[in-house]
């Protein structure tokens, strides 16, 4: 039985027994290579669920939609390892109760879909551990290395050209499971910290703030990068930040649901070479 079928069967069982009130998974998209988020709450819709290598989107953000989990019922969700890490962070930041989340874990290696064993988030710690170990060695993108080698001026020009395209549609924010604030800093106007205008200066501010707020929280699922309608390589900034917290504080976001947020904790012997 394929994983898709296995998961459909499992979804049917969970829904019919009332163990979960909803399954958030993937369905067919508008073209053959697209998959779209699908919300299933009755057993006869289960066959619409699709699971294959085109299921890329991290669906964990939907779990924090207003009111979804407030009735304390369980919700099942299809997640890749990054999504599972996102659940850990959301739980660690008290945005949801991990007990309410039933995980349909999967990973895609090449084009092959592999099931990840487990139901609750703590059962996936081995998977996450092995990703952490692999993280520093993971081959970095060429563009990333190119940027790292640039002089600050060149880097500035690179990002200036990229950010000049930003239209402040906030697709990056809305697509991100970690951007759950009811009122984002750009939406606060007393004081107006970030210019809402999408001129390049305002875009610099927005993108810096976004990246900073995600430092040590980003799981690099790539939702923001794919969502960006003007193709700003946001993944590079996120990756740089993840690399930084891993190197400086040995922090790999989303290890467990009790992991302390990196910027809300400290060690007395944290590095401070740059402080005079």
């Amino acid at each position: 039985m394929s994983i898709e079928e296995q998961y459909r069967t499992r979804a049917k069982e969970l829904l019919s027994g009332g163990a979960v009130k909803m399954v958030i998974g993937y369905g067919k998209g508008s073209t053959s290579d697209r998959r779209r988020p699908l919300f299933i709450s009755s057993t006869d819709e289960v066959d619409r669920l699709v699971l294959d290598d085109a299921c890329i989107q991290n669906l964990s953000g939907y779990l924090v939609s207003e009111g979804l989990l407030s009735d304390e019922k369980r919700v099942a969700v299809f997640l890749r390892p990054e999504g599972i890490r996102a659940i850990n962070i959301l739980a660690a930041e008290s945005q949801l109760d991990a007990e309410q989340i039933v995980i349909f874990g999967f990973d895609v290696i090449g084009t092959e879909v592999k099931a990840l064993k487990g139901i609750h988030v703590e059962e996936f710690s081995d998977v996450i551990n092995s990703i952490k170990k692999g993280a520093p060695e993971a081959k970095e993108e060429e563009l990333f290395e190119k940027i790292e080698k640039m002089s600050p001026q060149e880097r500035f020009s690179f990002w200036q050209e990229e950010f000049a395209k930003c239209i402040k549609c906030y697709a990056c924010r809305q697509a991100c499971p970690m951007c759950y604030c009811r009122r984002c800093i750009v939406d606060s106007n007393q004081p107006q910290w970030v210019n809402t205008s999408s001129h390049t200066l305002g875009n610099f501010e927005w993108n810096i703030v976004r990246a900073f707020h995600l430092s040590g929280r980003c799981v690099e699922c790539g939702n923001c990068d794919r969502a960006c309608p003007v193709n700003i390589p946001l993944r590079l900034i996120n990756h740089r930040m993840a690399e930084e917290v891993l190197g400086a504080f040995d922090h790999f976001a989303g290890m467990s649901k009790t992991q302390e947020p990196v910027l809300a904790s400290f060690k007395k012997d944290d590095s401070e070479t740059f402080i005079l």
């Binding site: 600050p152 990002w159 970030v194 001129h199 910027l263 402080i275 005079l276």
Partner: protein, 151 residues
């Protein structure tokens, strides 16, 4: 602007009131001379210094930003400066990656007793930023915000 001797950088300093601000006070009462380029903004703790402040200072045209507070272990609120230290670490890396030279944002620990260190720190930072010259990349962005849409 060419990098000439006439360039006087504008520097914004965010300091904690318990240590560095008291240190600045000491520098003043001890009649120590230091560069007049720095505008000091006093905050209750380095933990209160949001990276937004640094960005805002640059957005408003500062050539450099200076941040200072109590030495580790000396925080009036016991560990505000430890939290701040982590934040700076990450923020510095971010600025660097975006191409904002980290040399434009300087950090230090200055206690209430270190009036001399304060004066020296201000002088050295002012000198460094003066050498770097005006933050033209950013002022160019600021100017853009004043200009009409291009097409």
């Amino acid at each position: 602007m060419p990098m000439s001797e006439t360039f006087e950088p504008e520097i914004i300093a965010f300091v904690c009131t318990y240590c560095t601000y008291a240190g600045a006070d000491l520098a003043g009462t001890s009649r120590l001379k230091y560069a007049p380029n720095v505008r000091i903004i006093r905050l209750p703790c380095t933990g209160r210094i949001s990276p937004m402040f640094i960005l805002k200072a640059l957005q408003k045209g500062a050539d450099g930003v200076l941040i200072s507070g109590c030495h580790p272990g000396d925080c009036h609120f016991t560990h505000g400066n430890y939290h701040a230290r982590r934040r700076w670490m990450v923020f510095r890396a971010l600025l660097d990656f975006i191409g904002i030279p980290p040399e434009r944002v300087k950090y230090s620990w200055i206690s209430a007793a270190e009036g001399v260190k304060f004066a020296e720190f201000i002088n050295s930072v002012t000198e460094d930023i003066r050498k770097l010259g005006p933050f033209e990349q950013y002022s160019q962005l600021i100017e853009q915000t004043q200009a009409p849409a291009s097409l």
